[in-house]
Amino acid sequence: MSGLVALAATDLLAVDFFAADSLAPLLVADAFTGVFDWFLTAVVGGAFSWLAGVTGLDFLGYPYMQRAYLSVLCIGVVGPLVGSFLVYRDLSMVGDTLAHTAFAGVALALFLDATLGLAVPPLLGALVVAVVAALVVQALIEYTDARSDAALAMVLTGGFALGSVLISLTGGGISVGINQYLFGSLATVSRADVGLLVSMGLVVVGSVAVAYRPLVYVTFDETAARASRLHVRAVNTLLSILTAFVVVSAMRIMGVILVAALLVIPVVTASRLGRSFKQSLLYGVLAGELAGVAGVTVAYLYGLAAGGSIVLVALAGFVAVAAGHRLS
């Protein structure tokens, strides 16, 4: 059990670490960046170019599309993976709440840049503010009488309000850059963004793999888990922080407003398909992958918003599964 605490502590350290590193290359060291660049160009680029040749779909060869696909492949894994531990506890709104507070973090970073000339990477601002918000939400639920949905609603709107005020304080000068954070974008996904997603993805998958049992127990029966002396608070903190990681790393593509959808929709879709929890995790990830890849493809082909396309495809998948379930 102390291992779990240590795990949560490691994640906190990781946040400090990112802060110290100023997030510019985003990866642990230059050597890592080198490996990642090689991975991006040789492995991912090679695979996609081969696919482009086989299928005759030229856009698979474009580096920015490759980055977009790689990103949604990551989001499709981590979204449902973390979302599965939220949805069944009626905490589906946590993702949305943290995403909206992450917006305040982006605005704060842009504000500091515009007024004080402090070059804070917006995603670092988003990450720090979202993690703090995650802890605030947890404290609100635990220590006050606020019902959890009301607590979430307050933090959600509060975060967004803070973001909008910070933007207006700079006289609108920075609002140009805000749109891509609000609605997401395929074209502006940089190497650093993908690097963030891939490394967050590894952290999230690793954490869930290690803490799978406490996460499942607390999701299924929190009181019994407490009676069995599991460190429920540590598990909840870990889950909040992982959620913050997921929404922040996915928000460049999905946009603040829609990023939480992949924490929820594939999970709900899969809940009708899987019998065991592990099976439903797997189906959830598959549903997330399908929605992500199909959504990005549709968005490219018809020039649509990527985040919106992905969410609509995910919803279509849900409707199809629900209808099929009813018919069978």
Binding site: T223, A227, R229
Partner: protein
């Protein structure tokens, strides 16, 4: 050996007293039925016993350790009142739930042969081995309750605490379920059962604690039937308060409170 020991335990939500000056011991191997009207604090008392809440006053000991400080999670199994609701929507199999009983012993490592054996024999013991790969949400209410008991058996728990486990069950499955609890108790498991159906409890439990904020009766089941503690406890929050019984600790506020609140149902519900 005492499994649970309460000495002069009180608990309040804010300034609303829910449990007032309760002292009682639960011996190992005992089957204690905890009865009382709605809002009488019995669910709260159960969570106090398990160390899930800390009393505002008094001391709770669990297997001779301060309850809040007790660390042997596998020795204690708790089936909360709403536990089965949560089980309805989540895709999770019977086996996955019963395996959770092993988690306090083995939270991160690979499951050993012992772990698997404990899970298999627990499933077998409560008669749901053939349902092991079914989704818990697809089971009947009675089967679902057995899943939770199997989880406690897999943990090899010494104390099983249940909060009105049979509310949603038909009479037949309820009987069968309490038969199972009786058998487990005879094989040495300590059982504490919160139940509003007094007939069911007195048929199975070896000891009864009758509660309405304070303790109106604590003793053998046979003596309980002969005492008028039941009428006193259920009447305590009514307008008509017959007379004061000698079981409580002489708290002079009791009369006042009983009269001012009128009806037990007007009290804050302690069911979580």
């Amino acid at each position: 050996m005492t499994a649970v020991s309460l000495s002069d335990v009180s608990f309040s939500y804010g300034d609303v007293p829910v449990v007032d000056g309760v002292s009682l011991d639960v011996a190992e191997g005992e089957f204690l039925g905890l009865v009382g009207p709605n809002g009488s604090g019995k669910s709260t008392l159960l969570t106090l016993m398990l160390g899930l809440r800390r009393p505002t006053r008094g001391e709770v000991r669990l297997f001779d350790r301060p309850a809040h400080d007790f660390a042997d999670g596998e020795r204690v199994a708790y089936v909360a009142q709403d536990a089965t609701d949560a089980a309805r929507d989540m895709p999770v199999t019977v086996r996955e739930v019963v395996r959770m009983g092993r988690y306090p012993r083995n939270l991160f490592g690979r499951f050993s042969a012992d772990d698997r054996e404990a899970v298999a024999s627990a499933l077998d013991r409560v008669g749901i081995a053939d349902l092991a790969d079914r989704r818990v949400g697809a089971l009947s209410g009675g089967q679902r309750q057995r899943v939770f008991v199997a989880r406690a058996l897999a943990a090899e728990a010494d104390l099983l605490a249940l909060d009105e486990p049979t509310v949603a069950l038909d009479a037949e499955s309820r009987e069968a379920f309490y038969d199972l609890l009786g058998e487990l108790n005879q094989q040495g498991m300590t059982v504490v059962l919160v139940e509003h159906d007094i007939g069911v409890v007195t048929a199975r439990a070896s000891r009864i604690a009758c509660l309405n904020k304070r303790l109106y009766f604590h003793g053998d089941t046979d003596d309980f039937a002969e005492s008028d503690a039941l009428a006193a406890a259920y009447g305590a929050n009514q307008r008509v308060l017959d007379h004061d019984h000698g079981h409580h600790h002489g708290n002079s506020h009791d009369h006042q409170r009983g009269h001012s609140h009128g009806d037990a149902r007007a009290e804050p519900e302690d069911e979580q």
